[in-house]
């Protein structure tokens, strides 16, 4: 009887210790703390790459790999996105058939506002991205929406990012707004969830795998990811939006990819951009 009692005590001790270990903060609406997440991510990269400056993470892999940086700096002497920015400005300033333009749809005439996107739209109860608002602007003025991934939408977005360069990201999760917090948490969960036939999460490549070779490529750190979008990617040979890249990454894990601007991708962008709060806009960028 005594032995049974003692084993019961031992089991209780063991179970309680397991319970303590399994109680994970930051995984529920009640416990998630975006600011703590942001600091933890920064600290992770500070420990991982102690020589890299925090502000330099807006340059992706070029913040942590000297050889790649050298090549990139050469590339940036004649930025491949330059013509796209010019075309984006032309498109942005071209009036719609009704005489109005993009400037009429955005705060401050659409200039210097990239750092505020994406944001939580309380009324629509969803995350809104810059590209989404560009198309909403078109549609509300009787124009057809643009395709999401490349071409005119990326050029307009690039021009808007260009006018916002060096502005500090300031993504807000309104206090007490459970919907906004839930969208952030969904984005966080997507980022860390393994999926697809290759069983890969975003974090596998861009957290644990940053600056580690995947075939001939070095995966960039997650911190600062959205700061330089849209990007001119040498692999694409053109400018593309963040959601074009999301779709490609999702497909690379051998998942059936979501559509660009799908709510899940918008939540992911909300999470990722919040993680980059305090860093500056430096889009458009160029990448391999």
């Amino acid at each position: 009887m005594k032995i049974i009692k003692n084993i019961t005590i031992g089991l209780s001790l063991l179970l309680s210790s397991q319970l303590v270990f399994s109680a994970q903060p930051g995984t529920t609406l009640a416990s998630v703390n975006p600011e703590a997440d942001r600091m933890a991510l920064q600290n992770y990269f500070k420990k991982r790459f102690p020589d890299a400056e925090l502000a330099d993470y807006v340059n992706g892999i070029y913040a942590v790999d000297a050889d790649s940086r050298e090549q990139w700096e050469e590339l940036e002497s004649f930025p491949p996105y330059e013509f796209d920015v010019e075309e984006g400005e032309r498109l942005f300033k071209t009036a719609f058939a009704n005489g109005k333009g993009y400037a009429d749809c955005f705060e401050n005439g659409g200039v210097g506002i990239r750092q505020n996107f994406p944001y939580w739209d309380k009324e629509a109860s969803t995350v809104k991205t810059l590209e989404q608002e560009i198309n909403e602007c078109r549609e509300s003025n009787g124009e057809k929406p643009l395709k999401w991934g490349k071409g005119a939408i990326a050029q307009i977005s690039a021009y808007m990012a260009w006018t916002s360069r060096d502005n500090v990201f300031d993504i807000k999760i309104p206090e007490g707004d459970e919907g906004a917090l839930a969208a952030y948490l969904e984005g966080k969960k997507f980022f860390y969830t393994k999926r697809g036939q290759l069983n890969l999460s975003c974090a596998n490549c861009h957290l644990q795998g940053s600056n580690v070779r995947i075939r001939a490529d070095l995966a960039g750190p997650a911190l600062g990811h959205p700061s330089h979008f849209p990007v001119f990617r040498s692999k694409w040979g053109s400018l593309g939006t963040l959601h074009r890249r999301y779709k490609g990454c999702h497909k690379d894990s051998r998942s059936k990819p979501l559509d660009m601007q799908h709510e899940t991708f918008r939540n992911l962008e909300y999470f990722q951009t919040y993680m980059s709060n305090g860093l500056v806009v430096n889009g458009p960028g160029s990448r391999k």
Binding site: N6, I7, G10, L13, L14, P25, N43, K188, N204, R254
Partner: protein, 140 residues
Amino acid sequence: MKKLIAIIATVVLLPAAAIAETFDEAFEMNRAMYGKGYTFTWSGQQYSTDHQEEVEARVDATKANAESLIAKAKAHNAEVAKVGFEWKLTKGLLKDAEAAIESGDYRKALNLAAQAKYHARIGLQQHAYAEKNWHLSVPQ
């Protein structure tokens, strides 16, 4: 003293028992090492390294059997798609399986449907695992 020994024994031995090789681990290891059609022993019993879909595909190569397996694969894939864990190649496999039926190659159709069903089944397992463990790589 006896009490202390019992407590220590429970705390020390139980986790050791808990980390013993599970069936899934034994299956995956033997499958990876020897491929399908191999027999391995786990917990004193013998098991095959065949996936359940490979067993399901090992039926007579008839149109009805192929259609039945395709239907099962589609149902599983609809389930995994609903939770957002559908794999990239699954729909293509199902399409190819249907094309194989059209061309009268029922064996090929059975094998492709089995692959598609396997994708969907493992996708569902992946989802269940992720729901419990996604947070493990979040920096704290």
